[in-house]
Subunit: 234 residues, 2 copies
DNA sequence: CAATATCAAATCCGATCGGAAATGTGAAAT
DNA sequence: ATTTCACATTTCCGATCGGATTTGATATTG
């Protein structure tokens, strides 16, 4: 499998460069969208991006088609691509309705399938969030959001159902797009809810895990919903 | 907005031809896959398809990228695309696990939001299946599957949650890919279960609708699972 | 005879070209 | 002054080209 790479460092870097330009473009575009460097509804010109990134239009189109399939950009035929609009209140409700259906079940399954390694990963993510909670003065919200997302992702993985994992991954990106408008999040409550959830998960209390997750999601929704009342877009 | 089209007939047909070649290729490929004219694991050559369909490689690639995002084809870098493999027993379990989470909830919501028009559409789909049940000697299974899919799709739509609709759409295609291997389905039981479900839906019995759907899905799974034991592919 | 290495065919993937549609600008006319 | 028409720019979308990689076949050697 592994080749001999005497002076392979450059060879590998070149290989990596050649391997997946389309993939790289996709990831660049994805991060630009979730970081809001590309604003919602902002037009995304293919050849402008091609010039900017120094590649041809072909990998740009490929990336945009993928992003469209994931609902992150929208296409109008013969007009062009643009970043998806800011989700409105209805969309927000749908996301949480979906999470309420999937995540408690995922937690229940995760509690049943819990392994040593998964437990450690969960504990680690939780510890990171606890540390950040103290440094709250630094307003390190994006870091916290990262670990929170990882915490939930680990639980989804531990459910053993790859369809749930993929669906929640998509939902998480959209949730994040929503949350990044009001990047204030009451982290203390989230952490205390995580503690209850973590206890149930690590001790195999499947019913408690399901309930704790449902409670956590419901409260998380309540923490955001008051601020989404003002919908001036569409 | 509307142009004067004196001899516009040909102009419009040409316009339609120009409008969405990529879209047409996508639909052709999609139907070829779900009808198993392209077998699972079968390689899909880009330029072969380009010659066959009389278009260039560009729209072919676009369609394949979309299909890959939907999990219907898989890509190996620098090697090519191929139709997704036949789902194995584990994949089958995951699909039904997911349906068990979403469809009962969709039925509950649908019962709550039931409208006159939706009720009529449901009744119509159900009637078609009842008719086909009598013509069972004709082995009109694909027709039955079509109406069954529509029946479930109407319920999903009636839930009012577009995320649930999209997710169940994807699951339905995969379910269909699975079922099309063993295209025998005991339709009598399905119809009688639909009657219970339909009664609950039309009369606003939300809890009953949820339970009836869960029961229907569980039984549907039981009807297929015995035949999926023999997994000679991976 | 088996295993390996070399060569050729097929194929993908990115780059570039050209036609067509849509949007925006500006001038002219009522 | 507002509307309308014409033109120019921008942009997409399909077609085609060329380099790079993989795969399959043939031949050679132990």
């Amino acid at each position: 499998m592994t080749r001999f790479l005497g002076s392979g460092e450059t060879a590998q870097s070149r290989l990596k460069a050649r391997s997946a330009m389309g993939e790289d473009v996709y990831e660049v575009l994805l991060s630009q969208i979730i970081s809001l460097k590309i604003a919602p509804r902002e037009r995304i010109s293919v050849d402008a991006l091609a010039r900017e990134l120094g590649v041809s239009q072909t990998p740009i189109r490929a990336a945009l088609i993928r992003l469209e399939a994931e609902g992150l950009v929208v296409k109008k035929h013969n007009v062009g691509y643009s970043a998806a609009p800011v989700p409105n209140a209805r969309h927000f409700e749908e996301i949480y309705e979906m999470r309420m259906l999937l995540e408690p079940a995922a937690a229940e399954l995760a509690a049943r399938n819990m392994t040593q390694e998964t437990a450690e990963r969960l504990q680690e993510a939780h510890d990171h969030m606890c540390e950040l909670e103290n440094d709250i003065a630094q307003r390190n919200y994006s870091q916290f959001a990262r670990f929170d997302a990882e915490f939930h992702a680990i639980i989804a993985e531990a459910s053993g159902n790859s369809l749930i994992v993929d669906t929640l991954d998509r939902l998480r990106i959209h949730t994040h797009l929503f949350r990044s408008r009001q990047h204030f999040t009451i982290t203390h409550e989230a952490v205390s809810e995580h503690i209850v959830l973590l206890d149930a998960l690590l001790n195999g209390k499947t019913e408690d895990a399901k309930w704790a997750m449902a409670d956590h999601i419901a409260r998380s929704r309540e923490r955001i919903v008051p601020f989404s009342e003002m919908d001036h877009q569409l």
